[in-house]
């Protein structure tokens, strides 16, 4: 059991690290095909990372330790989240620690370090990016925690493993109004947290529209590779979490065998690839919102999350807390 549990942790973390660039490549490929282009291939982000990692490290003049350590800390915090949350198995040795609020906090830690690095460069771009990033992340926070609140009501706990294994046993929770509203709210929050259209455009280099790209403009070489990898891992982890929360089937549970672990990995890959393809397809048809229209979108998602909590109270989903 214990060996299986540790293998599950390693599988999750490894899958996220290896799969994150592939997911980005896959999404770019889907997008390219929908736009009638050939695309660079799914493995292109990996080739980019390999190229960047082999270059010499470059420090921009006038930057300090915050700039140097931020890329590694971004990857590290996302890596801890990847190991923690039940992507492949709900019965790992550390699944008791997989608290949803802790996960939200760890992801925010990555955001904050990158924002500090942006300010550390002392350029207009860096400051602009981190100012916008912190504004958006401050406004996303209430939505995320209320969605966590709504999800924790039927399970009676904010532990993600408990929430997911509970939902797998009792699928009625997912189809309840509370579950659906929380899904929608969390989806918007994920878009904002990962800097996708309509909140931010990951492929822009126009100063009026940049958020994430403006913050990391001064990075080059291996540092840039880590920043890119960190952002890709965040996307993978959040899409994986979204998939696990609302399509909880296929995840290994206590007492499962090595076979089911492999199956869970394959199912995870399929789920995340499907979600990624959906997101990429949606991005073809959406336009990026103006920065000052983003709060309206986030206020809408906040309302959905609030409705999710109150709905689960007034409609009484049964079991758990109530």
């Amino acid at each position: 059991m214990s060996a299986l549990g540790y293998a599950a942790i390693a599988a999750q973390a490894g899958a996220v690290v290896v799969g994150a660039p592939l997911l980005t490549g896959w999404m770019r490929q889907v997008r390219a095909r929908l736009e009638g282009r050939a695309g660079a291939g799914t493995a292109q982000p990996w080739r980019d990372l390999r190229k960047l990692l082999r270059k010499e490290p470059i420090t921009a003049a006038g930057t300090g330790p915050a700039f140097r350590v931020a890329p590694a800390l971004l990857v590290a915090s996302t890596l801890v989240v990847a190991a923690l949350i039940p992507l492949v198995s709900t019965a790992t040795p550390i699944s008791g620690h997989a608290d949803a609020i802790l996960v939200v906090g760890l992801l925010a830690l990555g955001t904050v370090t990158l924002a500090l690095a942006g300010l550390d460069t002392g350029t207009a771009f860096g400051g602009m990016g981190s100012s916008r990033e912190m504004t958006i992340s401050a406004l996303v926070e209430p939505t995320i925690l209320l969605a966590v609140f709504a999800l924790s009501i039927p399970a009676g706990s904010t532990n993600l493993a408990a929430i997911i294994s509970g939902a797998a046993e009792d699928p009625a929770r997912l189809a309840s109004p509370a579950g659906l509203l929380a899904t929608a709210a969390l989806a918007v929050a994920v878009l904002a947290e990962t800097g996708r259209i309509p909140v931010d455009n990951p492929s822009t280099h126009l100063e009026l529209t940049m958020v994430h790209e403006a913050m990391v403009l001064e990075y080059a070489g291996p540092d840039l590779a880590l920043v890119e990898l960190g952002a890709q891992m965040r996307l993978t982890v959040l899409l994986g979490l979204q998939a696990s929360l609302f399509v909880p089937w296929g995840i290994a549970t206590a007492g499962d065998s090595w076979g089911s672990l492999l199956l869970a990995l394959a199912v995870l890959a399929v789920k995340v690839a499907a979600l990624g393809a959906l997101l990429a397809a949606a991005e073809v048809f959406w336009a990026k919102l103006r920065l000052f229209r983003v709060p309206e979108l986030l206020a809408g998602s906040f309302l959905l999350a609030l409705l999710a909590v109150t709905a689960s109270y007034f409609l009484g989903t049964g079991g758990g807390i109530l």
């Binding site: 082999r54 590290a76 760890l106 924002a115 300010l119 002392g122 350029t123 207009a124 406004l139 007034f314």
Partner: protein, 675 residues
């Protein structure tokens, strides 16, 4: 004699010696002697508080010390918690103060300040130990007066200090009047003025009187805690005081406002109906969001920290309000959890806020600047101060692995599980409270990214910032003590577990929710677990991997230095960097309707043609809207009333004699008719 009594006696003796040393010794040795005595007093306070948290209790009656009522002192675990926190802050800040005030005979080094600081520290230690209304009010007033005089310490250097002093003096005394009226009414109806008599007589009070007493007392205490809308003094007094005094006020004095609410609401009155606690919760939620929004708009480093104090006290009040609500609805285990969360957050806030104010003080000491827009680049000149500020800011933003995260996590857990309590009120209030905590945490992240990133990172924006030097050894030592407290609270909060339970039990909310599990926090009342050491270890391992693996893959090892991207237009100057004001601009636009910023564009045309512009002046201010709407009308009214009253006094002696005559006649008539 119990260890608590002995320790409090030692603290009193040390504080007295410190006051004398500050008053009598020459400037050369004054800060060192007074600071050493104050540190000793603080350390004795820690001993007393820890003994009380360990389960000891102590009470004494000194009938001869005060005329009529005598002095009553008693220490239980609840008092012990506040004494221990105040003692720790006093001890560390006193060490810091030796370095901070050792640079001149005016301001922080002056005779008056050096003599008053030990007395202020002593009052902070003794207020939670008071066990009768008269003793409590006397010590409370001593605390208010000494802190007021300390706020005024630098009145010769800056004119704003005087205005801040007037605001503080008026508001603290209005609060005092409110507390006095409430407690006096309580004592009169309960038939005794010792806390024991109040406790015994609380049941005989009518519900109306209980409610009125609670409202009066809470209003006074909430103003001391800096809760909106009674916060107006706080963002003025805290920035203008010398920084070590700011640290004491923000990390120890405002706590006592929360202490007062817990002591009277839970212990003396024995809990109350839901509306009391809903009011406390609403006040706390309003304070949290409004305080942090104002902090986000502020570019004055110390003003920003002061508003963040309002935010954190708001979070503590949310916890206290939730505890009262749950207790009223018959769920004592959830109430105990919420109260423990509130108290833990209070302890955490004291640790990181004292450190933040001390670090801000080092910046002011080194540069003479508090304006973030004119700072920057300090991490190169003051690396230790910058590192300590970053450590404290990690606690303040409530992110793992900081200490603030643990208490906000507990608070969120208690609110989320509070939905078990039946009733529509909880179903509506608790989700909103969770959202408020989340929003304030998110905004706090923006605030401290701004403070750290603009104030300490990037390049210096002024000559003063360029010439900054690292703080002296005493200042660094004091900050190091506070940093050690922050780290200990972040790594092993479980060590506080049994003390927090005892404090909750002393407040009348029995239950053992926060179990001491060595290092972590495991809640038995609800199914949740957090082990901060584990989080820290996991982050460290992941960080080592993230640093090490790319290093193995790398072919070229040497790090190159390169110019910043300058768009081909020459090296970027510090003027191009984002300032605190520009950093906060998006947030200001988002919260436009709440903040109501004032904007002024002044265009001067050239004399030749109106189409040519000679000069454009742009000004934007974000005034404190609550103050604007709530206090300004009252102040204007008072001013008009004063003007009107002046017409009654034209200087004519005949008129005054007439007033006397008619006044006397009217009085006699009233007496003749009435009796």
């Amino acid at each position: 004699m119990s260890p608590i009594g002995a320790a409090l006696g030692a603290a009193s003796a040390a504080a007295g010696a410190g006051a004398l040393a500050g008053l009598l010794l020459p400037l050369r040795v004054r800060p060192l002697a007074a600071g050493a005595c104050t540190t000793a007093a603080g350390a004795a306070g820690v001993v007393a508080g820890v003994a009380a948290l360990g389960g000891d209790s102590w009470s004494v009656r000194l009938p001869g010390l005060l005329p009529l009522a005598g002095t009553h002192l008693a220490v239980d675990a609840l008092s012990g918690l506040f004494i221990a926190v105040a003692g720790a802050v006093v001890a560390a800040v006193a060490v810091y103060g030796i370095g901070y005030s050792g640079h001149g005979a005016t301001g922080a080094g002056s005779r008056g300040v050096q003599a008053l600081l030990p007395l202020f520290a002593w009052s902070l230690l003794l207020v939670p130990a008071a066990a009768s209304v008269s003793t409590f009010l006397l010590l409370w007033e001593l605390m208010a007066l000494t802190s007021l005089l300390l706020v005024l310490a630098e009145h010769r250097l800056r004119a704003e200090v005087r205005g801040a002093g007037v605001w503080y003096a008026v508001m603290t005394h209005l609060g005092m009047v409110s507390v006095l009226a409430g407690l006096a009414w309580f004592a009169a109806d309960a038939g005794g003025e010792t806390f024991a008599a109040l406790r015994a007589g609380a049941d005989q009070l009518s519900p109306g009187v209980r409610g009125a007493v609670f409202v009066l007392v809470t209003a006074g205490f909430a103003s001391k805690a800096g809760a909106v809308p009674l916060h107006a003094w706080l963002p003025r007094a805290h920035p203008e005081a010398p920084s070590h005094v700011s640290a004491l006020m923000s990390a120890a004095m405002v706590n006592l406002g929360c202490y007062g609410i817990v002591r009277t609401g839970f212990d003396l009155l024995g809990g109350g109906p839901s509306w009391w606690w809903l009011a406390v919760l609403a006040t706390g939620a309003l304070s949290a969001v409004y305080g942090i929004l104002q902090a986000a708009m502020s570019s004055d480093l110390k003003r920003l920290l002061a508003y963040s104090t309002t935010e954190n006290m708001g979070l503590v009040l949310v916890g206290i309000g939730a505890a009262g609500l749950f207790a009223d609805r018959g769920r004592p285990e959830l109430a105990a959890l919420a109260l423990a969360a509130a108290l833990l957050h209070l302890v955490n806030h004291s640790a990181f806020k004292a450190l933040l104010f001390c670090a801000a003080g080092s910046v002011v000491h080194a540069t003479g600047e508090r304006d973030l827009d004119r700072l920057g680049g300090l991490r190169a000149k003051m690396p230790a101060t910058a590192g300590l500020f970053a450590l404290a800011a990690l606690g303040a933003v409530a992110l793992p692995p900081g200490n603030g995260f643990i208490s906000e996590w507990l608070l969120l857990q208690s609110l989320i599980h509070g939905l078990q309590v039946p009733g529509v009120a909880t179903a509506v209030v608790l989700p909103l409270a969770v959202a408020v905590i989340a929003l304030s945490a998110g905004l706090a992240a923006a605030v401290f990214v701004k403070a750290l990133g603009v104030g300490f990172f990037a390049r210096p924006r002024s000559e003063e910032a360029r010439r900054a030097r690292e703080a002296g050894p005493f200042m660094l030592a004091g900050m190091g003590l506070l940093a050690a407290c922050c780290v200990a609270l972040a790594v092993a909060p479980g060590a506080l577990g049994s003390g927090l339970d005892r404090a909750g039990t002393a407040a009348g909310l029995a239950g053992a929710p926060v179990l001491d599990d060595g290092t972590g926090v495991r809640l038995d009342a609800v199914s949740a677990k957090l082990v901060p050491v584990w989080v820290l270890a996991a982050l460290t391992v992941a960080l080592l991997a993230a640093v090490g693996v790319p290093r193995l893959l790398r072919r070229r090892r040497r790090r190159l230095r390169a110019r910043l991207w300058d768009c081909g237009g020459g090296a970027p100057t510090p003027r191009m960097a984002y300032t605190a004001t520009s950093f906060a601009e998006p947030l200001q636009r988002v919260f436009d309707d709440v903040l109501a910023p004032e904007q002024d564009v002044d265009v001067t045309h050239t004399r030749e043609s109106v189409y040519l512009v000679e000069r454009v002046r742009f000004q934007r201010r974000v005034p404190d809207r609550v103050e604007h709407r709530l206090y300004r009308p009252v102040l204007d009214w008072a001013e008009r009333a004063g003007e009107a009253a002046r017409r009654l006094a034209p200087g004519s002696v005949h008129r005054y004699l007439g007033y006397g005559f008619f006044g006397l006649v009217a009085l006699l008539l009233v007496l003749a008719v009435g009796w």
